[in-house]
């Protein structure tokens, strides 16, 4: 039996975000025993996670009071922490997984890893050289690309890849005659995500369609009875409204087929229950991906109830002009966002998709043609412009890199070469903030140099040569896209020339 310890001291969002990962972990290692360590203050959230056998808590508030209070002996804090940690270390851990990024989490991970030397560690912790370092490539990529504009993977995917797991949340759902549609009610009528009028329109559509049963969920701590009575009065008191806390919400969520929500931690719980989510958001930093998840990015206009209803029906025709709609399509890494509706910048969209393609090509040795094919469906002018721009940027990057390699061989011969090397290196690193696809390998290179436990010229050289190879992969990825766009162009030319007489899957006439 595998003993696995998961550490997360990053707060409720991060704890609940771990849920899909724990589901995968239990699928791959059904006989494993999983323990979860968090701060006592967040215990109520960790208790909602699936498949956890043991819960450990660090009483942060208490320890802090012991350490800061003049009347308390510091020994009390030390004894309290030591007691919790020795109980954990006594478990003969096979794996320790740190799923957060906090300094506290990294320090504790370092302590527990050193105390359980035979265990494997996944995530970030401190090296004995006092530097914070990821345990493997995927966590390193995640750390390096933390602030990258077109981050190709989401946190769930990084967590899976870093632990050699594949993200495939296909939880079988029951199949009843009608679909239960959970709606998390906002607490105020003027809520931006689901205003009163939108809510009424949506419930109207659900009730009239016959196939759906709306279930309205309310966080009992933020209850606004007047508002909900008004809503229920509108529907002759026929609505099913469930006032719930987190724990009971979990039971209710299990009965749903779809969950419509704004900003709420409940979405993570719904996700771990395998429920498809329609998330209404105004920022796209960490949307929840999943097989049938839909993300609606709202603009300035009110979202119409019919638009949300259309999402459920799979009819992506919208009344709201400034609404953006994303679905999730499966690829070789997990699920990627696919833009289905709304105005957007083709340039940014191609960069986002190609970043994902490149990560696959670089680190999974997989070139996902479906991504190229998605881009090839964009207007050809936009795709060609993007390719041209990237080629130019690539030439600049390659030039800088060749200079660095030349100067590296001359660096022993004089200080002027050293200075030149530093100037060229700075120039190269400046591409990490550019639109260039090369920003990805450059950011990873930068992180490796900055946080590498060993600072030696040899290590630097090795990293520069590795970067050179990666830039070649960037180059070939751009060529892959160019080829795909060109094929698409050929297809449309042929279609134009032969009309509908030719099936393109068959051989072309000579």
């Amino acid at each position: 039996m595998q003993h696995i310890l998961i550490i997360n001291l990053d707060g409720p969002d991060s704890i609940l975000l771990t849920a899909p990962f724990i589901v995968s972990l239990k699928t791959y290692y059904p006989a494993s025993e999983i323990s979860f360590l968090t701060f006592g203050e967040e215990n109520e959230y960790s208790k909602l996670l699936p498949s956890i056998d043991h819960f450990f808590q660090i009483e942060k508030k208490k320890i802090k009071t012991f350490l800061k209070g003049k009347i308390f002996p510091d020994a009390q804090a030390i004894n309290s922490l030591e007691k919790t940690l020795s109980n954990i270390c006594r478990q003969n851990l096979d794996s320790i997984i740190h799923t957060g990024f906090s300094l506290e989490g990294a320090l504790l991970s370092s302590y527990i890893s050193l105390k359980s030397i035979t265990s494997n560690f996944y995530g970030i912790k401190f090296e004995s050289t006092k530097k914070l370092y990821p345990s493997n490539l995927w966590f390193l990529i995640q750390q390096s690309l933390m602030n990258y504009k077109f981050n190709p993977l989401n946190p769930t995917e990084y967590l899976h890849l870093g632990n050699n797991l594949f993200f495939d949340p296909q939880i079988p759902r029951r199949n009843s005659g009608h679909k239960n549609i959970g709606i998390l009610l906002p607490t105020k009528p003027e809520d931006d995500f689901l205003p009163f009028q939108t809510l009424v329109e949506l419930i109207d559509h659900l009730r009239n369609s016959g196939g759906y049963f709306p279930v309205l969920l309310v966080d009992f701590q933020k209850i606004n009875r007047e508002y909900f009575t008004k809503l229920n009065r509108y529907f002759n008191y026929e609505l099913e409204i469930i006032y719930t806390n987190f724990e009971n919400a979990k039971k209710t969520l299990a009965l749903l087929d779809y969950f419509i929500t704004g900003q709420s931690l409940l979405k993570y719980l719904a996700h771990s229950e395998g429920i498809s989510i329609i998330e209404i958001t105004d920022n796209m930093e960490a949307p929840l991906i999943g097989p049938k998840n839909i993300i609606l990015k709202k603009g300035a206009d009110r979202i119409k109830g019919l638009d949300i209803f259309n999402c459920l029906e799979g009819n992506f025709y919208f009344n709201s002009v400034d609404l953006q709609l994303f679905s999730c399509s499966q690829d070789r890494v997990g699920y990627r966002l696919q833009r289905l509706h709304g105005k957007f910048s083709f340039n940014e969209e191609i960069s986002r998709l190609m970043a994902r393609y490149l990560v696959g090509a670089l680190y999974l040795q997989e070139r996902d043609e479906t991504i190229l094919s998605d881009i090839a469906d964009f207007p050809q002018k936009e795709a060609s412009e993007w390719i041209e721009n990237q080629k130019n940027l690539n030439n600049e990057v390659s030039g800088k890199l060749l200079n660095i390699l030349r100067l590296l061989s001359l660096v022993e011969e004089g200080d002027s070469y050293k200075k030149d090397l530093i100037v060229n290196l700075d120039d190269l690193l400046s591409f990490s903030n550019s639109e260039s696809l090369n920003a990805i390998p450059i950011l990873i290179f930068k992180y490796k140099i900055e946080y590498s436990p060993i600072n030696e010229l040899k290590i630097f050289e090795n990293n520069i040569f590795a970067l050179k190879e990666q830039i070649q992969v960037v180059n070939s990825s751009i060529r892959d896209l160019e080829g795909q766009v060109w094929n698409k162009k050929k297809e449309s030319l042929i279609k134009k020339a032969f009309g509908n007489r030719v099936n393109l899957n068959e051989e072309l006439p000579q």
């Binding site: 002996p73 020994a75 004894n79 922490l81 050289t129």
Partner: protein
């Protein structure tokens, strides 16, 4: 009055027929009606009591005020309350109990202990972490004024020498023994751990973790992090 300075101890009866202790000629409750006095005492302190379900009562007497305090807290918090009583005199506690005057409820009584011993007691410290309301019973408090003054003025010894004597883990004791006895934890984490070239002992991380809990972050730029 210290724990051992009781010269004259009597139990007398109030006009209402209730037993009351008289110590060194001081009556700890009303000689007319201790129950009426106790009820008034709790009502007078309602403002401080109503927002806290943890109460530290200084002075037990024969527990008439404790009885009303329990009723008051039960009304407000059902069973979710805790009272801790400090009574310097063991004799008062045993008599109160044998006379059947101690109410039942979530009550812990600490008696016959010097402040220094109290502040080393785990149950007592755990209770203090909850930031209880401190409610002095006036007659008991005045009778043992110097004891309660010492109690309220108590400050823990924060030197490593003192800390080490209270540490349960032999491994941590050995680790702390390497450092100056008169240093504080704050001093040795800042001056001795963070400045180490290599973190070669798991306890280096243990104490840095405690430091981040105390201060919120590692202020010294000894560790590299992008957070």
């Amino acid at each position: 009055m210290s724990i051992s300075s009781v010269v004259k101890y009597q139990i007398i009866e109030s006009k209402s027929g209730h037993k009351i202790p008289k110590i060194n000629n001081v009556h700890l409750h009303s000689t007319y009606d201790p129950r009426y006095e106790a009820e008034r005492f709790i009502l007078e302190n309602e403002d401080v009591l109503k927002n806290n379900n943890h109460v530290l009562l200084l002075g037990l007497g024969f527990a008439y005020h404790l009885h009303y305090l329990v009723n008051y807290l039960v009304n407000l918090h059902q069973n979710n309350y805790q009272i801790l009583v400090i009574e310097p005199s063991l004799k008062i506690v045993t008599d109160c109990e044998s006379l059947g005057l101690l109410p039942s409820g979530n009550i812990s009584i600490f008696s016959g202990m010097e402040p220094n011993d109290l502040f080393q007691n785990e149950e007592f410290l755990e209770f203090l972490v909850e930031k209880p309301v401190i409610l002095p019973h006036p007659a008991s408090f005045n009778l043992s004024l110097s004891y309660f003054k010492d109690f309220l003025a108590f400050r823990s010894d924060k030197t490593l020498e003192h800390i080490t004597s209270q540490i349960k883990s032999p491994e941590i004791k050995d680790y702390l023994d390497q450092f100056q006895k008169d240093a504080t934890i704050e001093f040795f984490t800042n001056e001795k751990i963070i400045t180490k070239e290599v973190f070669d002992n798991p306890l280096d991380f243990f104490f840095l973790f405690l430091k981040t809990l105390r201060e919120g972050e590692l202020k010294n730029d000894a560790t590299h992090t992008n957070h």
